[in-house]
């Protein structure tokens, strides 16, 4: 792995983890209400 490859991989992983973390943080802090019509 070159330095650039490490940076490339780290950036992509960080973005994915950040978006996933953000989504679940918002979902869990809003509540977990049931669905259904």
């Amino acid at each position: 792995m070159t330095l650039l490859s490490w940076i490339y991989m780290s950036v992509v992983w960080t973005v994915i983890l950040a978006v996933t973390g953000y989504c679940f943080y918002r979902i869990f802090t809003k509540g977990n209400n049931g669905s259904g019509r």
Binding site: Y8, W13, C23, F24, G34, S35, G36
Partner: protein, 522 residues
């Protein structure tokens, strides 16, 4: 008044997101993705990430929106949903794809899923222990499936595990959404994350072998040696096709799950959560397990040969060899195959939902009866896949249903949503009750870029291989009848669905003419 107004929905939002993510996370995350990425190196990730942002995420939001919108009118499958989006006679027939594709993929997918279950058992029992070369494990795999010189591919062991996987899927399908799919997803998905993290942690901490380290394997996916591969349409087709496959967009399953949502229940944040969860499993866990482990034990050249040998070679031939050379290998090997099985199960249990809801909503068949009927028919259709596998029945179904028409349906729905339903209405509908305001740039992406990109991909894919596949170029003459059998299965199912639509719209036209707005049903 819709007859489905009082139908139950998702019990919890967490359950919904786990079910949606489970629908997306499948065998492809751990086997197909590394196999597609490795031949191109880090350059593959450029079209992959572009397709994720320009096609995958927008299509996911579109499908959630179409599903919730159609569900409000009492439609749980795409014929009824498309009929409500675009009031033309043809629109409900376009929706056939959203039932046909997942059902036909499910017919072979459950069999593949059962291999993982069988191999989990064989790893616990240690039956293949001592077969320490890739070639020997390839023989073990062939024997497990019963591939021989005769016309029929059969082994009692593979068939036994196939029956278990099939029955499990049939039972889940027969239960209500909150007691079946949701319960399984709520337990299976966290278990899958834990197993994936355990395996990724184990691989990343393996010591070097003969000067090779796991980072040499990571480099096969992340190091860019040659940017010029981006000039070839092949890498774009492979990367974009992978986005469709991994997110399960263009299939009709997301629509059906979303049809259980209430009118003002969020879809933007939940949809993005499902996508990012899938990407976590695919890009982070999927790229960390199979290829780095294989490169460490076999070296780059042999790993490339293994990957070129097909999607399953790395998972079922190479990794079992590696587990045998690893401390506590039986434990990690079992984790690997259970991981694959859970990934498969959480996807396959969604595949017959559109057909089930079509029978329930449009043909008014009670759920239990519909589930039994589907199980019987699907079991019969699975027999050629299982018994004639070596003649290419599964590959034929996979190409047309899981490869080509999936992209065609994705392109059609992007055009219907953005241009025929109208992007302004679509954008408003998508943001009803939204917990996340989607950036305005996505309005233009969804209106212009996504439909054009999807149509270009259809044209590329057609130019790349459709004619050769259609004319069966390179197919051994003795296999030709079996491929026609696969095509007859596709055409038979299509004819049944077309008849079903014609019959349903003719039998109770008032239901389909219902102009009550979603959410306003009494």
């Amino acid at each position: 008044m819709s007859h489905r107004v009082h139908r139950e929905g998702w019990a919890t939002r967490f359950g919904l997101i786990m079910a949606m993510a489970g629908n997306a996370v499948g065998l492809g995350n751990f086997l197909r993705f590394p196999g597609k990425a490795m031949p191109y190196g880090g350059a593959f990730m450029v079209p992959y990430l572009l397709a994720l942002c320009l096609l995958g995420i927008p299509l996911m939001w579109m499908e959630w929106t179409i599903g919730r919108h159609g569900g409000g009118y009492g439609h749980g499958s795409t014929p009824g949903m498309f009929d409500k989006l675009w009031r033309r006679r043809i629109s409900k027939y376009i929706g056939i794809f959203g039932i046909l594709l997942p059902a036909m993929v499910g017919i072979y997918y459950i069999y593949i899923e059962s291999w993982a279950l069988g191999y989990a058992w064989n790893t616990i029992a240690g039956t293949y222990w001592g077969k320490t070369s890739h070639g020997e494990m390839a023989e073990v795999f062939g024997k497990y499936l019963g591939i021989g010189s005769g016309p029929v591919t059969f082994s009692a062991e593979a068939y036994f595990f196939f029956l278990i996987a099939f029955c499990l899927n049939a039972v889940i399908m027969s239960l209500s959404i909150s007691k079946g799919i949701e319960v399984v997803a709520k337990y299976a998905m966290p278990a899958l994350f834990i197993l994936g993290i355990i395996l990724a942690g184990r691989v990343l901490t393996l010591p070097s072998i003969e000067g090779r380290s796991v980072t040499d394997g990571l480099a096969q996916i992340w190091r860019v040696d040659d940017w010029s591969v981006l000039l070839s349409s092949k890498v774009w087709i492979a990367a974009t096709g992978q986005i469709f496959f991994t997110l399960s967009v263009g299939l009709g399953m997301v629509h059906s799950y979303a049809s259980y949502l209430k009118k003002r229940e969020d879809i933007t944040l939940s949809g993005l959560a499902a996508v990012s969860t899938n990407e976590f499993v695919e890009v982070i866990l999927g790229s960390t397990i199979a290829i780095p482990a294989a490169v460490l034990f076999f070296g780059v050249i042999q790993t490339k040969e293994i990957v070129a040998g097909g999607t399953f070679a790395i998972g079922f031939h190479a990794l079992p060899v590696i587990f045998q050379q690893m401390p506590a290998g039986q434990f990690f090997g079992t984790c690997w195959f259970i991981l694959l099985f859970l990934a498969g199960l959480t996807s396959s249990m969604a595949m017959f939902t559109p057909l089930l809801l079509f029978l329930e909503d449009e043909l008014r068949i009670p759920r239990k009866k519909a589930a039994v009927g589907i199980s019987v028919v699907v079991f019969i259709l699975m027999q050629p896949v299982v018994l004639f596998m070596q003649h290419g029945v599964m590959d034929e179904l996979d190409y047309w249903m899981g490869d080509f028409f999936l992209v065609v349906f994705g392109a059609l729905e992007a055009v219907v949503f953005a241009w025929l339903f109208g992007m302004d209405r679509g954008w408003k509908e998508m943001h009803l009750g939204a917990d996340l305001q989607v950036p305005g740039v996505f309005y233009y992406i969804m209106k212009y870029v996504t439909p054009v990109y999807a149509v270009v991909l259809v044209v590329w894919s057609a130019q790349d291989s459709v004619l050769d596949k259609l004319l069966m170029k390179g197919v051994a003459p003795e296999n030709v009848p079996y491929l026609w059998l696969a095509r007859a299965m596709i055409l038979g199912m299509t004819a049944f669905l077309a008849w079903g639509i014609w019959h349903a719209w003719r039998s109770h036209p008032k239901f389909f003419e219902d102009t009550t707005l979603p959410g306003e049903l009494p």
